[in-house]
Amino acid sequence: MSAIATLPTEIVRHDHVASRNAEQIALKVENLEARYGRGCSACHELTGPEHSTNVCGQCGTVIACADVSFAVRAGRTLGIVGESGSGKTTVLRCLYGDLNPAGGTASLMTYEEGRANLFTASAQVRRRVRNFDMGMVYQHARDGLNLRISAGGNVAERLLAAEWRRVDQIRARAGHLLERMEIPRSRMDTPPSAFSGGMQQRVQIARALANGPAVVLLDEMTSGLDVSVQAGVLDLVLELQRTEGVAMVVVSHDLGVIRLLCERTMVMKNGRVVESGLTDQILEDPRHPYTQLLVSSVNA
């Protein structure tokens, strides 16, 4: 009837992992900038790793990240490593839509075949892309889960947002994903507030994968978990990398996690990318002074 009723249909939905062309770039980001404050002409020059600060000395604006560019192919995993203030989490939040960037472009192969900038799309379109084609695992389960509804309900919510409309199918997929995350079906109807930290993260991962997204973002997914529990979560993610064909971006301050999960890595400091390359090269032949410092500081 009315034009408002028709939502944009340019999003291509992937029903099966195998249909993805593994050679395609799934996610491309160019010149991403995010800031807190109105900004001024000096912000770029006065901030960054050479100045060891994110704060512009002239106007007080915090440049959370700037000049960030990267591309991730389907089935590949990019790591972003850095310390506090590096901007790594900001990058993820901008991609997922939790934060509005000041500039830059992001394109997804599944949105307008990568020809359109997600950052300039309407909020309605961004939400649709996020619901159908992206997944995010937050550092804290409370940010990524609804602790008051069941674990299965948390996974179901993503499916429902992606317009699944059969309870039996929703329940089957939710149960299947939770089982793969080693959460027994008997606990599917329990709210995750009753779960351990590791289990909560696994519910988040199941939720992030529910709608078969093209891109999954993982933000410090193992922080706060015991080492043995971390191992279990990482092992599951490794398995998923192999089978799901999603493009992943893993943010971590832990080089061990990066080494395990990511073939390629970007190193960030004070909001800028200082080095990027193959993970083994970054860790064994670091070039930038900061990367060398980072790598030598850890007995990885």
Partner: protein, 300 residues
């Protein structure tokens, strides 16, 4: 009473006519207020199911007693209109009587009726009359709580965002959890619907029985929430689809073959009516419809 009717358009009845009983503006509200309400109504009709905020004005009826519906009615009504007011199907409730009296007092040229087929405007709380309605009639619903998402989200800022982005996963998951816990959807009155394929709306606390009447209806439906200061609308011939799953579809109430104790019909919405002796019988909720049926059958 009708001797005081004026034949000209009553732009400012209190000034042009010293003979009115009330001394108020025509239909109580001044013309500027009526214009602002009508503007809100037009916006509401332009975006079916979307809640338009409006400046809900003072009335000689307390909030929570239909002030929203009343403001809609008073803004639309004019000489030649025939008004019916029902309260859960009854024309004779105290509230319905009071509202009719206010209109009779302040809107000369307007008749009131209990006969659905004679009315041009039908103001209602909790029911749609059983009689078939046609394109020249307007239904005005009194709405206590216009926000269908309030059950899953307390914050107004967040529910507004959810509507703006068509991000309805959380209301869907509430229904999903309902099915998982109870084996069916247990919601009854005020069942959430999708209007024109876009906005989720509450049809006011009408029973499920009445919800299918809204779908592709020949008449205009207007919804007024006075205390919450929102107006929304369903234009004629608009899709109104209850939220339900393909394998758990929407179903109206089932009276198990019961008949109305007064008129004998088995195809109307029945309510339980306590009897003096402590028992109860099932009887038509729509009393004027029931009365008409009894007359037909020579039972009065």
């Amino acid at each position: 009473m009708n001797e005081a009717v004026v034949s000209e358009i009553p732009h400012d009845a209190s000034r042009t006519q010293s003979g009115t009983h009330s001394g108020y503006s025509y239909a109580f509200l001044d013309e500027l207020t009526k214009k602002s309400v009508r503007r809100a109504i037009l916006k509401a009709v332009a975006v079916p199911g979307y809640q338009v905020p409006f400046g809900s004005t003072e009335l000689p009826i307390a909030r929570g007693w239909g002030t929203g519906g009343l403001q809609v009615t008073l803004s639309l009504i004019g000489p030649g209109d025939v008004l019916k007011v029902i309260d859960q199907g009854s024309d004779d409730s105290v509230n319905a009587v009071n509202i009719r009296q206010l209109v009779e007092l302040t809107a000369p040229g307007v008749d009131t009726t209990a006969a659905t087929e004679e009315a041009t405007i039908i103001q209602t709380r909790h029911r749609i009359p059983e009689a078939p309605l046609h394109a020249d009639q307007i239904m005005v619903f009194q709405v206590p709580l216009p926000e269908p998402l309030r059950v899953v989200e307390r914050r107004e800022s967040e529910t507004r965002r959810m509507h703006a982005e068509a991000d309805y996963g959380r209301i869907w998951v509430a229904l999903y959890e309902d099915v998982v816990q109870h084996g069916r959807i247990t919601r009854s009155a005020g069942y959430p619907v999708v209007v024109n394929g876009r906005h989720v709306m509450t049809p006011s606390p009408i029973p499920k029985w009445d919800v299918p009447r809204l779908h592709q209806a020949p008449f205009l439906s207007l919804f007024g929430a006075g205390r919450e200061k929102r107006i929304y609308a369903v234009p004629p011939l608009t899709d109104v689809v209850p939220l339900a799953f393909d394998d758990y579809p929407f179903a109206i109430e089932d009276f198990d073959g019961a008949h109305c104790a007064r008129c004998g019909s088995d195809d109307t919405f029945l309510v339980e009516v306590p009897q003096p002796d402590g028992s109860s019988v099932m009887s038509c909720s729509d009393e004027s419809w029931c009365e008409a049926r009894r007359t037909e059958r020579g039972q009065s």
